[in-house]
């Protein structure tokens, strides 16, 4: 029994991170981030590839997307070319991923320390996240949630396909972040599960500090609260969107890196993992961070129990969990709503 709870909490912690990222992205950009799962896979498998001494295709993807993003910037600025701005765009969109690619190919084939591999994986996926926003969502920023959602699914499909191309259909595992283990009563804590708890908590605290104390964190919250208001004080929607995607991709990649030593990941595993985070986010109503984190733990525990007792219907149980919650939330919603498009 207890070990099921423990298992559930380990998974739940990951779902919580993903759920938080989804809430963040939705609040700031109105995008329901289906490709979150791909950030997980890319992070995990890039890390696994680097650890195995292979060159991950994601580094090349980052450069290609960066070049495309620069082309978008050029096109957008065609009427009003300002060299300083373009130079900065070139540095971020082309030089940076280029340097990362060079670094990655230098790393591949060497046995670099775990932390270096983790760092490189995070940077690569972060770049992909930011460029994804620039390429797919920034041009659609004015459209409806539905259109953004469909675009989001399109991105998911393309990125999942690319995942297969980069990492093949074989599952991979990565080395653990920490080897230590401790036993406490009937429970055994591996270094990895401690790393999961520790990093999750650390990340949540870091996010809390970021949003509570820094100007950029506040600007992001402001965009989520009132998009027009934010623009009127000069906060760029595109900047907020990029920061949100940056955070989401880093969180996704980190989750992947945390899981890949525990379970074998395939190019398409991320989607289901992301979906669970998504359920947590929905239960949190796509607005509340603490509720989302709690819901994520619940989803993790329910999943652990149902996979033990009724593994055949595991997914059915997890997904049906949603309906009563959605109903409750709907009924609790205020009767008078100022609706608009």
């Amino acid at each position: 029994m207890l070990f099921l709870v423990q298992d559930g909490i380990t998974n739940g912690a990951i779902y919580a991170l993903l759920g938080l990222a989804l809430v963040l992205v939705f609040a700031v950009t109105r995008v329901i981030l289906i490709p979150q799962g791909e950030f997980v896979t890319y992070g995990a498998l890039t890390y696994a590839s680097l650890s195995a001494g292979q060159m991950p295709g994601t580094a090349k993807l980052a450069l290609v997307m960066g070049i495309a993003a620069f082309a978008f910037d050029l096109f957008a600025a065609r009427r009003l070319l300002r060299w300083q701005k373009l130079a900065r765009a070139f540095a971020v969109n082309v030089v940076l991923p280029g340097a990362v690619l060079a670094l990655t190919s230098w790393l591949a084939g060497r046995h670099s320390p775990v932390l270096v591999n983790v760092g490189a994986s995070l940077v690569i996926v972060a770049l992909i996240g930011v460029f994804l926003y620039r390429l797919a969502f920034q041009p659609l920023a004015h459209t409806s949630v539905l259109v953004l959602l469909i675009a989001s699914v399109g991105c998911h499909l393309a990125m999942q396909g690319l995942g297969l191309l980069f990492f093949g259909a074989e599952g991979q595992r990565g080395p653990a972040l920490a080897d230590a283990a401790a036993t406490l009563g009937p429970l055994r804590f591996t270094g990895q599960s401690i790393a999961v708890y520790g990093l999750t908590v650390a990340f949540i605290v870091a996010l809390w500090l970021f949003f509570g104390l820094t100007v950029y964190g506040k600007a992001l919250r402001a965009t989520a609260v009132n998009r027009l208001g934010a623009r009127l004080v000069g906060i760029r929607t595109s900047l907020s969107g990029q920061i949100a995607f940056l955070l989401a991709s880093v969180i996704g990649a980190l989750s992947g890196i945390l899981i890949v030593p525990i379970t074998t990941l395939y190019y398409d595993t991320g989607f289901l993992i992301g979906l669970k985070g998504f359920i947590a986010a929905i239960i949190g109503g796509l607005v509340s961070y603490p509720l989302t984190a709690m819901a994520a733990l619940l989803v993790g525990v329910v999943e652990a129990f149902s996979s033990f007792y009724a593994s055949n219907f595991k997914e059915v149980i997890v997904f049906t969990l949603l309906i009563p919650v959605l109903l409750l939330r709907s009924l609790a919603a205020p009767a008078v709503e100022e609706e608009g498009d």
């Binding site: 390429l135 797919a136 041009p139 659609l140 004015h142 459209t143 409806s144 949630v145 539905l146 259109v147 959602l149 469909i150 675009a151 699914v153 399109g154 991105c155 998911h156 499909l157 393309a158 990125m159 999942q160 396909g161 690319l162 297969l164 191309l165 359920i279 929905i282 109503g285 796509l286 055949n312 219907f313 997914e315 059915v316 997904f319 049906t320 949603l322 309906i323 959605l326 109903l327 939330r329 709907s330 009924l331 919603a333 009767a335 008078v336 709503e337 100022e338 609706e339 608009g340």
Partner: protein, 589 residues
């Protein structure tokens, strides 16, 4: 009202295709698939594009249709034709059950709910023994008419495309009706529609069922086309793909569903058959390209390809003038002279700790214009919402014609003869002024959705439009009758709302800032109209900031401040009331 000949040309064209010599059979298969997807997408257009209810679960309804006929025709030897009503019924009933739960979900919860049951049903299809688990059911008999067995793609082609055309026409008919207007109003929020008697949950459920039955029809055809079913095509992936089709084609347009189906099916086919040749079959290239093209397509045409195509074509819908001689029967007016029409007795509304309306009492008598004034946030609009049933009072009582309202829904309040306008205009911007105003007469029409689909509602419709046209003329907007409501100035839109309210044949008209945005002359015309209505026996309760307008027009004035009534009296008394001057009018300039 819509021009029919392009549809006929298109139908003739589609009918001719199989007769073109040397058409590759593979094209016909493609067209079959387009037709099957188009049926589902059409339902989604109604559900998502028109009704604003996003569903990811449509594939599950296709599954219900397909599995029903599969089980009935294989295990019980039922004829496919007899299985058809069963397939449609099972999809429809499933929609009712799921819909009863899900359409209550508001905002983003609804699409998420559909994902949840979409996935749940998919897993159910693949786990149930009598549905053949993951292997599904095979050896389903083909459709046949007499000796003609529809075995090859070229014969079932006709069954599929007849279904597409019939469904499209029925769907278009439904949209162009009393029920259709109610559905089209859903996307803009339910408050305005409910204020005129639309049962929004029922309207939502209706589109849900309509979309599910179309999906079930597609499933039934699919089962007899493939002659085998398994869970894969009814999963979440497929559900999402149907939504792609609807959005790419143009989620607001029935024919957009058909166009979207053509684009997506052909695109996928081309990518699947040519891309591997080009690039030597590495991984899932077609998925990658498909995903990227999808995003690109959305960036080029965010409102759908159909909308883009239509904006290039010089198509103009011909509109028929309604025959204004047709009459609707007026409301029975109880002889209630001298009594009280509306009575508020210590009405109170609290939001948490904030008292928005604080024990307010006042009355409106027949043939009287009463103005409700006070600073913003004084509780004027909240009072309106209490009277019309949008909000329920925390305590106190509100009676209409001596009948106490016990938290009635807005639909019941309008039946009693109370019609309103809104401070923030709530019209459907892409519907014409005439159609918007006709929503006001919703309760005075009787045709149901089935009658509308089969065009049995025309006399009913003609009367509704006649009434709407009369009211539009009365408020002086006859020139704008065919324009989309959203293209009018805000001031004119407020007047459209008045016409809409008049269509309900009210005893009491509640107007929330009707003169805002009007120029001096227009205000005078509005005042004349309101006086004329009063002299015709109607009462008016209005919220307005323009004191010149109010003091000139109102018989009595009620002043609210911080939710509390601070004064009531004739305009002259109010103007000199020191309390009112202190709280609202201010020291005279």
């Amino acid at each position: 009202m819509r021009e029919r000949w392009p549809v006929l040309v298109f139908a003739a064209l589609m009918a001719a295709i199989p007769f073109v010599p040397d058409v590759p059979p593979f094209w016909i298969v493609l067209l079959d698939n387009i037709g099957l997807s188009a049926l589902v997408a059409m339902g989604l257009v109604l559900l998502t594009g028109v009704g604003g209810l996003t569903s990811f679960g449509q594939a599950a309804f296709v599954g219900f249709g397909a599995y029903t006929t599969a089980v009935l025709t294989t295990a019980y030897g039922v004829s496919p034709w007899l299985a058809l009503p069963a397939s449609l019924a099972v999809s429809g009933i499933a929609a009712i059950l799921l819909g009863l739960v899900t359409v209550r979900l508001s905002g983003h919860y609804l699409p998420l709910g559909t994902i949840a049951w979409g996935l749940g049903l998919f897993y159910l299809f693949s786990k149930l023994e009598f549905l053949g688990r993951n292997d599904g059911i095979s050896a389903i008999p083909p459709l046949s008419i007499g000796a003609l067995k529809m075995l090859d793609p070229g014969t079932i082609y006709y069954a599929i495309w007849i279904a597409v055309f019939v469904s499209a026409l029925l769907t278009l008919n439904l949209l162009d009706s009393r029920t259709g207007r109610a559905i089209r109003a859903l996307r803009r929020g339910h408050i305005a529609a409910e204020a005129f008697g639309v049962q929004t949950p029922r309207a939502k459920l209706l589109v849900f069922i309509h979309a599910a039955v179309l999906a079930g029809l597609s499933g039934w055809l699919y089962a007899h086309f493939q002659r085998a079913v398994n869970p894969t095509p009814f999963g979440a992936q497929a559900g999402i793909e149907y939504l792609f089709i609807a959005v790419v084609g143009g989620a607001g347009y029935v024919w957009g569903g058909v166009l979207g189906a053509a684009i997506v099916v052909v695109l996928k086919e081309v990518l699947q058959s040519y891309l591997p040749l080009l690039l030597h079959g590495e991984g899932q290239l077609e998925i990658i390209v498909f995903g990227i093209l999808l995003v690109a397509l959305l960036q080029l045409a965010p409102t759908g390809v159909w909308a883009l195509v239509m904006s290039w074509l010089p198509v103009k819908a011909a509109r028929k003038r309604p025959d204004v001689s047709l009459k609707l029967s007026p409301r029975e007016r109880a002889p209630h002279e001298g009594g009280v029409l509306l009575q508020l007795e210590k009405a109170r509304k609290q939001f948490g700790g904030v008292v928005a309306v604080n024990d307010v009492s006042f009355a409106v008598r027949p043939r009287e214009i009463v103005a409700l004034i006070g600073p913003n946030g004084a509780g004027k609009s909240t009072t309106f919402n209490l009277i019309t049933g949008v909000l329920t009072a925390t305590s106190g009582s509100i009676s209409v014609l001596g009948k106490r309202l016990r938290n009635p829904p807005p639909q019941e309040v309008v039946k009693l003869g109370v019609a309103r306008t809104f401070q923030h205009v709530k019209l459907v911007p892409d519907m014409s002024v005439l159609e918007n105003v006709a929503i006001g007469a919703h309760l005075r029409g009787h045709a149901g959705p089935l009658a509308s689909m089969f065009r049995l509602d025309r006399t009913d419709e003609a009367k509704l439009f006649a009434e709407a046209a009369r009211q539009i003329e009365r408020v002086g907007l006859a020139e704008q009758i065919d324009q989309p409501a959203g293209s009018l100035s805000l001031g004119q839109q407020r007047i459209v709302e008045i016409a809409r309210a008049l269509c309900a044949d009210p005893l009491l008209l509640l107007l929330d800032e009707p003169a805002a945005g009007l120029r001096h002359m227009e205000k005078q015309r509005l005042a004349a109209l309101l006086r004329q209505l009063r002299d015709g026996g109607m009462s008016v309760l209005l919220v307005e900031h323009d004191m010149g307008f109010v003091m000139d027009l109102a018989d009595r004035v009620v002043v609210l401040d911080f939710g509390t009534k601070i004064a009531e009296g004739t305009p002259d008394a109010i103007k000199t009331n020191p309390e009112v001057i202190r709280a609202y009018l201010g020291a005279a300039a």
